[in-house]
Each structure stands twice: as C-alpha cells, then as structure tokens.
C-alpha cells in the first residue's frame, strides 16, 4: 500500500489505518433504453425530435402527398394560376394571459406568420374554440377582443368558426385552433429546402422573449421580470423584404424549439451547413439572465415575433437595410452564413473563440439541477 513516492505523516497514517475508501469497480452498468413510448408523452409536443418522430411514424404514412412531404409550416397550392398559402395551428398556452399578449393574439399572429413565411399576403382566418366548463365569460371576452384587435392589425378577416364545450377537467380553460389562407403575389419560391452555399442568415431581432415571458408567469417559478412576449404579425416585414430583393430563399419563424431547432431543420432540408457567430446573435440582458438562472439556452427558447431569412449573398445588405427601416426589423443582423461543408449541421463560433455544434432539441428543454 505504501507508495515509494510518499511518506506518511501521523494524520495520514491514521487515515491509512482505516483502510482505503474502496470502490467496488463493478464496471459498466447502464439503464435499458426506452425506445418506444406506448403513450404520448409531453415531449411529443415540443417541436423537437419526438414531434418529428410522431410525424414520420403516423401522419406522413397516412396522408402522404407532395404538399405534406415538404414539411413546411404552410402548404403552397396553385389554383387557376394563382398561388395560395394554407396553414393551421393549435394553441394551448398556459397561462392564457401573459405579459405582452394572450392566447387570442397569439392564435391570430401565429397563423398570420405561418402564411407570411411563404411570402404570402394573409387574407382569411377560421377559428375553432374548445372551451372548458367553468371558464369565466369575462376571460373569453378578453381573449376574443384581443383576437379582434390582432386580426384588425394584421389586416385579416375571421370568416368562419366553431365552438365546443368540454367537461371541467377535460380541457385547460381554452384551446384555439386557427386556420389561415393567403395569396402569394411575389414570384419568389420560398421554402426550407432552398438554402444555398453563400447565403447570409439574417435574424430579425432579439430572441427568447416569448418563452421567458411565459415561463416567468408559471406558478412554480418565483422570479419577476419585465420581459414581454414578442408576439406580432410579421407579414408587413416580409413584404418589405421582398420589395428589397426577390433573392430570399428561406423564411422561418423560430417558434417552438427556438432558433437552434429551426436552423437545424433548414440545414437538414437544404442539405447545407450553417455557421453562426455567437457574438452577432441579439439576446436581451434580461433574457440572458433568466436563462442563466433557469439553466436554459436562449437559442432553444420560443419566439413569436421573429424571423430567420436566408438571403443570396448579393442581396443580403439591401434586404438587411430595408429590414432595419421597418419597426419589426430594427435590430436585424446577419448572424451567420451557409457553407458547403458539414451538410445538415449547424456550427457556432462561441464568444470566447471556441466552437460548438447546435443540435435539435430533444423533447422538452429541461432545467438543469446545478
């Protein structure tokens, strides 16, 4: 036991006499992996890998067609020579009222933005309401009023709808599904599979606001912040960008799963590599602080009023300049570029000069222990 390299003092000798603290080196041990969920788990709805598994396993095989297979947030349909964008989205946010918005404005803006990301001018909205027995009519009035204002602001009409009520405990106050239709005037063909080597990656402003605003309101989180959701309709900004240049290849709003997950989807669909510079990504101090405390990564936190644009190299500056003149694009920045190397992967140069790979989010983003 005595190593020739060291001599023991009395205190150490006492320790030695107690015998070594010995680990039973059992060798490798591992839990059996859970590969198949027999039930739906929350992670299936997070927009990450589990959601994608669900789509691949159930929805695509059942409904397979050329539109669905594109896996965009909207379908672009050609009817009698005009191009229509068509989309639908369900809203189940808790709490239903949060700083900067509520489930009503979110339902209108979310669908307007899904249409806008194809370059479309949003026109008409349909809405279905699932109400839980016991919901205060005053709350419903507030939500509906907020939807009216959001629709007016976005210039869309709510033209048809449906209402159902479920037993207490079978819903969570109010669920809203909105479906939207818009017309594409621009000749640009915008899709997640069109990113090309050399494209600039433009982000329209500060990220993480929506997700953190929602989290700050959850009952089990005791922190106060003045962070507000960024929920806004983005079609005006998109129209301005398309005026500046038709060379816009991809548009996406980084909602669930955040900027990192959205960029990964684009990299995979376009079979291109993406390189980011962490120093260029605009994140508010308050959002950074909240993420540091909660152990979250702002790159995976949801946004409801931001967009990512992939723009041809030569058009990047004019598009960026035009965005900055628009109130919703004032803080727009080029955060990276598309490269021919490492197709399907997103790499980021970190602020300290190292390199990090951004992967898709798996399941829900879980707060870390320490």
């Amino acid at each position: 036991m005595n190593s020739p390299l060291r001599s023991l003092n009395p205190e150490e000798e006492k320790l030695e006499a107690e015998g070594p603290i010995r680990a039973d080196l059992l060798g490798a041990i591992c839990p059996v992996p859970i590969l198949e969920h027999k039930q739906i788990v929350l992670g299936h709805g997070s927009g990450g890998k589990l959601t994608s598994d669900l789509i691949q396993k159930f929805f695509l095989p059942a409904f397979s067609n050329e539109y669905l297979e594109r896996l965009d947030d909207q379908a672009v349909l050609e009817i009698n020579g005009s191009r229509l964008a068509f989309t639908t989205d369900g809203f189940v946010v808790t709490p239903i009222f949060f700083p900067g918005g509520d489930i009503g404005s979110l339902a209108i803006n979310g669908t307007v933005n899904d249409l806008a990301m194809s370059g479309a001018r949003p026109l008409y909205i349909a809405a279905a309401f699932i109400l839980e027995e016991g919901l205060a009519t005053e709350d419903l009035r507030r939500v509906v009023d907020s939807m009216r204002k959001a629709a007016q602001e976005a210039g869309v009409m709510l033209v048809t709808g449906d209402t159902k009520v479920v037993n207490r405990g079978k819903g969570d106050q109010i669920f809203i599904t909105t479906t939207g239709i818009g017309v594409i005037d621009s000749p640009s063909r915008i899709s997640a599979d069109r990113a090309q080597s050399g494209d600039a990656v433009i982000l329209s402003g500060y990220i993480g606001d929506h997700g953190i605003a929602i989290m700050s309101q959850r009952e089990n989180l005791e922190f106060e912040s003045n962070i507000e959701s960024d929920t806004v309709p983005l079609h005006g900004l998109v129209a301005a960008m398309l005026e500046a240049s038709p060379e816009i290849h991809v548009l996406r709003d980084p909602t669930r799963g955040g900027v990192a997950t959205t960029l990964n989807e684009i990299a995979a669909r376009s079979k291109a590599g993406i390189r980011l510079d962490e120093n260029e990504i605009p994140i508010r101090e308050s959002v950074k602080g909240a993420c540091e405390i909660l152990g979250l990564d702002p790159l995976y936190v949801a946004n409801e009023g931001k967009l990512l644009a992939f723009v041809g190299q030569k058009s990047a500056e004019p598009v960026l300049e035009r965005m900055r003149q628009h109130p919703l694009g004032r803080d727009a920045r080029i955060i990276g570029r598309v490269v021919a190397e490492h197709p399907g992967m997103v790499l980021m140069k970190t602020e300290i000069g190292g390199t990090r790979v951004l992967d898709v989010m798996f399941g829900e983003q879980l707060p870390r222990i320490c």
Partner: protein, 371 residues
C-alpha cells in the same frame, strides 16, 4: 451581462491559453469534477482552445448520471402510488429505470411535477393536504442544504404529508475512489466550485496530502476553467501538489457554516451505490433518525428494491475518467440523447450528452477550422 461577460472575454482567454502553452513541457491529464464544468467546457469549446497535450477528462459530478438504477426504480415505485404527488428536478424525468421513465409514468396518470426549488414542495403540500408529497432529493453537497431545509421545515411546520427520497452523494470519497483505481490516469483535479461554496475546501486538504495530487477549486465560467487549468499545469510542471482556490469570489476554506449546520441537523453519512462505479463507503447522506417520518424509503417500504444493472455501455468508465465518450463504439450511433444507452447520455450535464450536443462526435479538424 455583468458578472458573466467578464468571464467570457476572448482576449483574456487567449492570454491564459498562451501562458499554458508557454509553460507546458509534456502532456497532462486533468479531471474536472463537476457536470456543470463539463457542460461549460464543451459549450464554449474550451477543450479546443487548450494546447493538444492538455487532456481534460470528465468526472463523476453529474448527480443525475450517478444516481443508481435501484434508486430510480424506488422513485418510480413511489410515483406510481395514486395518492402521491412526486416532485423532482427536471432532468431526472428522462432517466430510465428498469421499466419506464418519469415522463412515461406521468403519461400513464402519475402526478409527477417539476420543481425548481425543493421548498416548492411545501406549497404543494399545503394545497393538497389529502396527498402525499415526495421529493426526489438527489445531488451532491450543493443541493443538500435546500433539501435539508425542506425536511426541516416540514417537520417544524407539522406538514406530515411531506417526505423525501434521499440519494445524496459526496465528492471527496468519489475523488479518493478514482485515485485508488489501478486504472487511474488523472494527474490533477479542477475541484467542484459550487460544492465548495457550501462545504469549504478543508476536506480536500487530506486528499492532496495523501495522494500528492494538485486540486484547484474552480468556477464554471470559461475564464474560471481556463485559469483553473493554468494553476494545475503550473503545479504539475513544477512538481508541486497543493490545494489552490481559483474560485475565490464564491469559495473560502470554511464554506457556508449555517448551511453545513443544517445539513448535520438533518443528514447522517452513509454508504451509497453509484451508477457506474458501485458502492463507495461513506459517500452519501441519509436522513437522521429524528426525521424518519419524512423518509420516503421507509414510508413507502421500498427499501427492499435491489435492481441489478446490466452491462451495456461504458458510462462507468467515463464517470471515472478512464474513457472518453467517443471511445465508446455506440457513441453518436446507437447511443444518442434521443435513444440514450447510459445515464451519461441522458442528463444534459452528463459527459456523453455534453459531447454529443456540442458536436464532439465530429472530427477535430472540422471544428478547429470554424474557429
């Protein structure tokens, strides 16, 4: 952001790295003990900033990873009780036991809740007097005071429906176990900053004296880690083995006395099984006898559960610094965060998950090229 940006300054980082390069004459193997440190190293790409001869290996300091399968099975057995509200830190939910994970139990109707602070359980207990509230008390010395406070308050406030399932582990015995292993390669340690903020660093002094190994108590920001590495390399190059404290802004020799007092009021030292390592004597906490009415293991009679762990991956060797994640043939192929084969891939703090998330399954050339 103030108090963060100062520790991520790339110009200062370069100076520290240059200094390490200047004094280094031979390769060294240094272990960072904490999962949080591992996470920071790969998140900021520090391992690629350091000279090639400095090898950082990742220690056992991820509480989720080292919690034994047996303990997870006990947790699941308790969470399945219909009158239980089972509360846990978030990243414990995805760790599979023998049959399921907590997410799956939740989808089957178990009331499983994520809490940020153990003390949230008091609120839940008051709001649900007809239910039994059980908190999964895992972690190192860092989380021990808050977990102790939960039990202490539950007892003193007469909340009989609060109990905790204790799976606490301690750092110093695990360092000793690593050093005593015949396969040990570790020549110096970056000590656990957060643990020492609570416990102080007195108890590391005998380790340094006995094993003649440099230990530098280190923080979690990139510059902390680079500076800690510089201190260890300085010691190694000059043949010294001292205890140094890089994390002076949070850590002193004595630690947080009131927190320690609370720990000793509530917990006793016990032997503990570590996933991937086995049983280490005197390496954990258990509840003291006075708090037996808040001991979930006793209340739910799960003491008898004794799960044998199977031999599927090398996470045990990774937790002891003998191997690195990419030494495993399954890493990034059969074993990913989506389909974890081992605990080190499950937790975001686990070495495998950190390696995967930050692209360490790629070639070094690809990554260096970007920087």
């Amino acid at each position: 952001m103030k108090y963060v940006d100062e520790y991520r300054n790339h110009k200062v980082a370069k100076k520290v790295v240059d200094e390490i390069r200047r004094i280094q004459t031979r390769p060294w193997v240094i272990m960072e003990v904490c999962g949080g440190q591992t996470h920071s190293i790969v998140k900021h790409g520090l391992d690629y900033l350091l000279p090639e001869g400095i090898e950082l290996v990742h220690g056992p300091g991820c509480p989720v990873c080292v919690t034994s399968l047996e303990m997870i099975d006990k947790a699941h057995a308790i969470a399945r009780h219909p009158d239980v509200i089972f509360c846990s830190f978030g990243d414990m939910l995805r760790v599979p036991g023998s049959q399921a994970d907590l997410f799956t139990l939740k989808s089957q109707g178990a009331d499983v809740r994520v809490v940020y602070s153990p003390l949230d359980c008091l609120k839940i207990a008051r709001a649900n007097p007809e239910k039994k509230i059980v908190f999964f008390a895992i972690g190192f010395e860092t989380t021990a005071p808050a977990n102790a406070m939960l039990v202490w308050r539950a007892k003193n406030e007469g909340l009989k429906n609060v109990s905790i399932l204790v799976s606490h582990v301690l750092v110093p015995p695990s360092i000793a176990a690593i050093l005593q292993s015949p396969q040990n390669r570790v020549q110096a340690f970056l000590g656990p900053g957060h643990v020492c903020a609570i416990m102080g660093y007195r108890e590391y002094e005998p380790l340094v004296a006995r094993y003649k190994v440099p230990i530098v108590i280190t923080g979690f920001e990139p510059l902390d880690l680079l500076e800690g590495t510089l201190y260890t390399v300085r010691q190694l190059e000059s043949g010294r083995a001292d205890l140094e404290n890089q994390y002076v802004r949070a850590v002193n020799r004595e630690g947080n006395k009131p927190a320690q007092k609370l720990i000793w009021q509530v917990f006793d030292i016990c032997d503990r099984k570590w996933r991937g390592v086995g049983s280490i004597p005197k390496s954990g906490y258990k509840l003291r006898y006075e708090f037996r009415d808040h001991d979930a293991e006793r209340l739910f009679e799960v003491e008898e559960i004794d799960t044998k762990e199977s031999q599927l991956c090398i996470s045990g060797q990774i937790l002891r610094g003998i191997k690195k994640p990419h030494d495993c043939p399954a890493f990034g192929k059969e074993c990913t965060p989506q389909q974890p084969l081992g605990a080190t891939m499950v937790s975001a703090e686990g070495a495998c998950a950190a390696y995967y998330a930050y692209g360490r399954h790629l070639k070094r050339e690809d990554l260096v090229q970007v920087a």
